[in-house]
Amino acid sequence: MTGIPYFPGCSLKDTAKNFESSALYVMEKLGTPLEELERWNCCGTVSSLTTDDLMHHLASVRNLIRVQDLGQAELVTLCAMCYNTLARSAQRINADPEERDKINQFMDREFDYEGNVRILHLLQVLKERIDWSKLDTEVTRVLEGLHVACYYGCTLVRPKTVAIDDTEHPTIMDEVLEAVGATAIPFPFATECCGTYQVVDRRDLSLERSFRVLQSATRAGANIIATACPLCQHNLEEALRELGGKAELGPIQIVYFTELLAAALGMDAAELPEGLNQLLTQHATVEGGA
């Protein structure tokens, strides 16, 4: 194993491929590559809170066993939803030997899970383990003029037990993006819910909530929103497409935070979202002409 064990999750192999490709590029460039688990399954999507419902923790625990099999004790995730599910299951099962034993008894074809794997979100790795001061000054020029609203949503910061930063006023994404030269714009709806999977049967509700996030970000002066979750990204994009024509919304792009980092670190424009490229070109031209 040459890189940090990494869990992609299903969305990153399907609807959010650009989230993964940009993250892999960034980590490779920074010299701390991610290495996908050879065998993994869905995280479980939602961490069951029912006291006797251990069945719904099997998915998470199986992934933890894959990490343990590698002789490792940390697993990095990108998708905020996977992060939340895996982290909550790991916390619960790591802390309770009785539940762990019950799960191990059931999964009789796996090695027993010993309760030592910790789940990390990529933002934590980027903040705690990367020395940004060594970055080339060329890097920090790329994102100049970008006013980024970092959208955390729910699952990175709630509940408090698995929060990767302050639950009410997280800044971890802001700090990482500022380190590569973007201007982070704090906005009131940074930790409001996008509507999540309500989009399936209460689409109107989800669109309305997401639109309020977009509104809040543009009013604060952002021209781009950074997300860390395929579902948040989807819901915000849908809201922009359906309700974006409303006059009170300024021009805004929605990208994964890793795409901004990748742009700064020299990822080929063809691999980046068109809207982001346009924004970067606009600002480069303005800078160049000034």
Binding site: K13, D14, W40, C42, L58, A59, R62, F106, R109
Partner: protein, 231 residues
């Protein structure tokens, strides 16, 4: 002549003595059961005879193909004629493999909790749960490769607590993968053309009128693949 060694087994709860070393299917026929459904090739390929059994003093339910598994002393047997599992209707050429069509046609795969019961039920030792997980993320190649040995017996789907139709999902994935990603086999194209042109009609008509003994002899002497012919 030495006395035949007998093994005691139970079929539908009733004890029978059957010759040792025969298969579950043979044992049930020996005991008087007649298979009208739930038996096919009798060679472990068709998947028609998937069955369950228990051994004395073992908490596990075991899974096997009745035509392959040998009876053991104290085995409790029954017959599973068929696993009902509705199959989604689709026209292969009209599907867009880029989108996750497996999830669209078989949404129940999203209910998988990774309990691995399907894998434990598979008499072919396929990593069934792993291919369901690959299906969930739209990885047709992985589903096709992992499920390649599937014989559609349906035991996975009979045991699944999430009611996933594993073997239908895998079949759809293999079909999709073969039309979208695998190279077109030249010999198949040639053969299809020959069939359409009636190249073998005369030979086939001759076989239809032959006597059974002559037909058997012709079969025994047949050349499966001529030397140098593309396979």
């Amino acid at each position: 002549m030495s006395e035949e060694k007998l093994t005691q087994i139970y079929i539908m709860g009733k004890a029978y003595d059957v010759p040792a070393g025969i298969t579950i299917m043979d044992a049930m026929e020996y005991a008087g059961y007649r298979f009208i459904r739930g038996a096919g090739c009798r060679s472990g390929f068709c998947g028609a005879c998937g069955t369950v059994y228990r051994k004395d003093e073992d908490y596990r339910l075991e899974f096997a193909l009745a035509c392959q598994e040998m009876v053991e002393e104290g085995m409790h047997l029954t017959q599973l004629p068929f696993t009902p599992a509705p199959r989604s209707k689709y026209v292969l050429s009209e599907l867009n493999a880029q989108e996750n069509v497996l999830l669209q046609h078989y949404p129940a795969i999203a209910r998988c909790v990774s309990c691995n019961t399907c894998t434990k039920a598979c008499p072919q030792d396929i990593e069934v749960m792993d291919y369901v997980q690959a299906a969930l993320r739209g990885d047709l190649q992985k589903v096709a490769e992992l499920s390649f040995d599937c014989i559609q017996c349906g035991l996975c789907s009979m045991r699944c607590p999430a009611d996933i139709k594993h073997y239908h999902v895998a079949q759809m994935a293999r079909r999709l993968y073969s039309v979208t990603a695998s190279p077109k086999p030249e010999h198949l194209t040639t053969r299809m053309q020959q069939l359409e042109e009636g190249t073998f009609d005369a030979e086939l008509n001759e076989l239809m009128t032959m006597r059974l003994d002559d037909l058997k002899q012709r079969y025994a002497e047949r050349v499966v693949e001529k030397k140098g012919e593309a396979s």
